[in-house]
Point group: C2
Chain length 130, copies 2
């Protein structure tokens, strides 16, 4: 029960910080028609979570740190709901090309960067077995 409570606190703090950082990225890009703000947070957040996943395999990490950084920070920093709504606006305006580009960059980019973060760290570790 105590472990669960500590994890929840870590998730709350990580989630709050992630959301504030996302809000900070949103503000200067609020007026851009193409949702570059959502792309930026989703790509960077996916890269960070992929890297963290590799770190947790390489290095034994406490549960509350994993919860705070992964579920909390990365989860709070990235967003699917804004992505869905941004995509809806592009369809509504008939911008099928931008809509397709947006989904392509978000999904392929997000997955690609998660893989990049994970594989890079694993390769780095393989070359440095200290």
């Amino acid at each position: 029960m105590k472990t669960y409570f500590i994890n929840v606190i870590a998730v709350a703090i990580g989630g709050a910080l992630g959301a504030i950082l996302r809000f900070s990225v949103d503000l200067p890009l609020y007026d851009t028609y193409f949702p570059i703000n959502t792309i930026i947070v989703n790509l960077i957040g996916s890269l960070i979570l992929g890297t963290l996943t590799a770190i947790y395999i390489i290095k034994d990490t406490r549960e509350w740190i994993k919860a705070g950084l992964g579920v909390g920070f990365c989860g709070g920093f990235t967003t699917m709901s804004a992505l869905a709504n941004d995509a809806f606006v592009l369809i509504e305006n008939g911008d099928i090309l931008l809509f397709t580009l947006y989904l392509f960059i978000s999904f392929i980019g997000g997955i690609g960067l998660a893989v990049l973060g994970y594989v890079s760290l694993m390769k780095w570790k393989a070359g440095d077995p200290s």
Copy 2:
């Protein structure tokens, strides 16, 4: 400056609550191979944000409430980084069918529910012009 500060506090509280709620959905589904937990939060969060977008058009809403519920709660509740990492695991295991199904449900489902939430509320309002 004061407005900005209030918005940041609202985003932080919303982000923390969204992340805790996502963590609560994650826990009982942690061992499922197909990431049904990420699907659930992303679909529900997209539906809520689509509905909120319509509410903000229909009803004049304070900026900090919008920031807290939209950027904070919906952003903190949904996640793109977990989606990217879940998808990576499915590819890594060679589950191309589950990978395709996962992306299809997440994207088409997320966008579809955002549209459903928005359109339903707008139609309800059109039928009730009070």
